[in-house]
């Protein structure tokens, strides 16, 4: 069974009296454990598609099935529940909370699902921070970390609750090529180690090299879907 199944997905934005189609009938399936890149030019609909898959936005037409359940008819509270327990996000601008330390930023996500006691939580956060190479920087606040380190914290935050799917919208856009490589390698490592499904959007060719599946979007449609071994 696919983790995600999109059928005839459409999204039309209303700009005053003008209707702007962002997605024009997307059919796609993502299997569990995939490491997929969605790429395409600016305005092609990558981010819109990612937002639909991430339960952040609702489609105009078509169906989204996540882990065997249609999410089309869910209200905003139910969608929040799906995100809370099943999804992790990595943003281009990291979106860390500046008043919290790296440890607390990661802890923040696991606090939402509140499945662990204090010690378990601490051990889990520390172990993940160590895995992303920030074990000795747990007490640093975001302004004391470099761009790459911030994105590592963001990745740890996305993975801490062991989600079924991690969505990353242009995760390397604010990073230099060396740091981008490190971050991508980390994501790939996590994908292999934890079998977490990763979908990330990009138009950076370096990023595409890491993907095992490449989906190209043009004018709101899938123009290419290529799997690599």
């Amino acid at each position: 069974m696919s983790l995600i199944k999109l059928t005839g997905l459409e999204k039309i934005y209303q700009q005053g009296k003008i209707e702007v189609p962002a997605l024009r009938g997307i059919d796609m399936e993502i299997e569990s454990g995939e490491f997929t890149t969605i790429f395409g030019p600016s305005g092609s609909g990558k981010t819109t598609l990612l937002n639909m898959i991430g339960c952040l936005d609702k489609s105009t037409a078509g169906e989204i099935v996540f882990d065997g359940h249609s999410i089309n008819d869910l209200n905003s509270k139910e969608l929040a529940e799906v995100r809370r327990y099943n999804l992790g996000f990595v943003f281009q601008s990291y979106n860390l909370i500046p008043v919290l330390t790296a440890f607390e930023n990661v802890e923040f996500a696991i606090r939402l699902i509140d499945k662990h006691n204090k010690k378990e939580r601490r051990d889990k956060v520390m172990s993940l921070l160590e895995e992303v190479g920030l074990g000795d920087m747990a007490d640093r606040r975001p302004n004391e970390l470099s761009g790459g380190q911030k994105q590592r914290v963001a990745i740890a935050r996305a993975l801490i609750k062991e989600p079924k799917l991690v969505l990353a919208d242009e995760p390397t856009a604010n990073l230099d090529s060396e740091t981008s490589k490190e971050v991508l390698e980390l994501m790939k490592e996590m994908n292999e180690e934890l079998n977490t499904t990763f979908i990330f959007s990009t138009h950076d060719p370096q990023v595409m090299d890491y993907a095992r599946r490449l989906i190209e979007i043009k004018d709101g449609k899938i123009s290419k879907d290529q799997r690599r071994d």
Partner: protein
């Protein structure tokens, strides 16, 4: 707890803004604490003046007289009796008893005439209940059996009397015939009770009884207790032991209009507090909106991670509570300092009333010293925090209901 911790940490993002918003709350609390403190001081002084100069702790009178007592008619007077006085002296907390006879007087200086209240006092016992003698600023108390009188220095000034002058007092006897008392002014007083200074003359009880032709009758007994808080219960208990038509009244009954006025004043103070804190609440609303706008991407991230609207609202409410707490602590500290200044140095009543002789019905004058009550501090502190938290709810809801996509991309 984690969200509360995060909320408090958020207060450190813009320390200056947090402090300024908290200061608005603090000033609101300061104004309330000072106003309330001065009100407490005024109330305590007013009650003390009423008790020490006008009503004592208890009064015993014919209930028909009591109802019309302000008309100063010579009807329903009491004939003193040992039996009544014995019953009065058995009252819990009893200290002293005196007799008084109030009557209507037209005070004449040969040119002008002024209606005032005459009070016949038992010179032997009056000072055990009242402290009029302690406020003499010139001369002495009258001698028993004489036609000597004392009056307020202010009344004397108004009527152009000097110490040693004779004041003609026109009175009407019980039979409605006119009589006069040619009273020699032997003493002038200046009490902190303005109306007493302006409209009362005091003279020996026996002289008044003789000139009014009321034999040995009095209008009422006045009792001093060792604790003013006993008065209400004592009045009730004593009334139950007295036979009709006698009735005991506490100083609160005698000062009913003042008590009502102070209660109204208290409501006014609460309204002032509500208005000031509402203005402070605008500061909180402003702070929460600014914080939300600055943190829009963060809010989007929180929503993306599955944080519920109510959890986001709680976080902002926690921040507002933090501001309220900081403002509350600052306000209470400022309030304690402010009250200490007004408690030690006091404030001249004339300053509060615009420099004139107006007392706005309060039986007090001179310097008012602020009082304080722990309950006021607790109340205003809690009120400040609650107002802060409530003020944050709507802007927090506005922030929490932002569309996650728009928030993430700050559209």
């Amino acid at each position: 707890m984690f969200f509360l911790k995060m909320a408090f940490k958020n207060l450190t993002r813009h320390k200056r803004r947090t402090i300024i918003t908290a200061l608005i709350i603090a000033f609101a609390i300061l104004i309330y604490v000072i106003t309330e403190g001065l009100m407490i001081g005024m109330t305590e002084m007013s009650f003390e003046n009423i008790i020490n100069l006008e009503s004592g702790h208890l009064q015993v009178a014919d209930q028909n007289y009591w109802e019309d007592r302000k008309e100063l008619q010579l009807k329903n007077l009491i004939t003193p009796a040992a039996e009544i006085e014995n019953k009065i002296s058995q009252t819990d907390g009893f200290e002293a008893l005196t007799r008084r006879l109030n009557f209507a007087v037209n005070l004449n200086n040969g040119i002008d005439e002024l209606p005032v209240t005459g009070v016949g006092i038992d010179l032997e016992t009056d000072s055990r209940v009242f402290e009029l003698d302690q406020h003499l600023v010139a001369g002495r108390m009258p001698e028993a059996g004489s036609t000597e009188i004392i009056m307020g220095a202010k009344l004397a000034e108004l009527m152009d009397f000097q110490l040693g002058d004779y004041a003609i007092m026109l009175i009407r006897t019980e039979e409605k015939t006119f009589n006069t008392i040619d009273g020699e002014i032997v003493g002038l007083f200046n009490t902190p009770h303005p109306s007493l200074n302006e409209s009362n003359v005091f003279l020996p009880l026996s002289t008044v009884q003789e000139r009014l032709n009321v034999e040995d009758k009095i209008s009422h007994y006045v009792v001093r207790l060792n604790d003013q808080d006993l008065a209400s219960n004592a009045a009730e208990e004593l009334s139950s032991r007295l036979s009709a038509p006698y009735q005991a009244y506490s100083w609160r009954d005698a000062a009913r209009s003042l008590v009502t006025m102070l209660e109204m004043q208290d409501i006014e103070t609460q309204i002032i507090l509500a208005i000031i804190l509402t203005l402070a609440a605008v500061g909180i609303v402003n702070t929460v909106i600014l914080s939300a706008l600055e943190r829009m991407e963060e809010l989007g991230m929180m929503k993306a991670l599955g944080m519920h609207e109510r959890e986001i609202v709680y976080t902002f409410m926690g921040e507002a509570a933090g501001i309220g707490l900081i403002g509350g602590v600052m306000g209470v500290i400022m309030g304690i300092i402010g009250l200490a200044i007004f408690n030690i140095n006091g404030i001249d009543m004339a300053t509060m009333t615009g420099g004139g002789d107006m007392t706005y019905g309060f039986p007090l004058s001179g310097t008012i010293y602020a009082g304080w009550e722990l309950e006021s501090f607790i109340f205003v502190f809690v009120y400040g925090v609650v107002v802060s938290v409530l003020a944050s709810v709507l802007p927090a809801l506005w922030a929490a209901r932002k569309d996650p996509v728009k928030a993430i991309y700050h559209r």
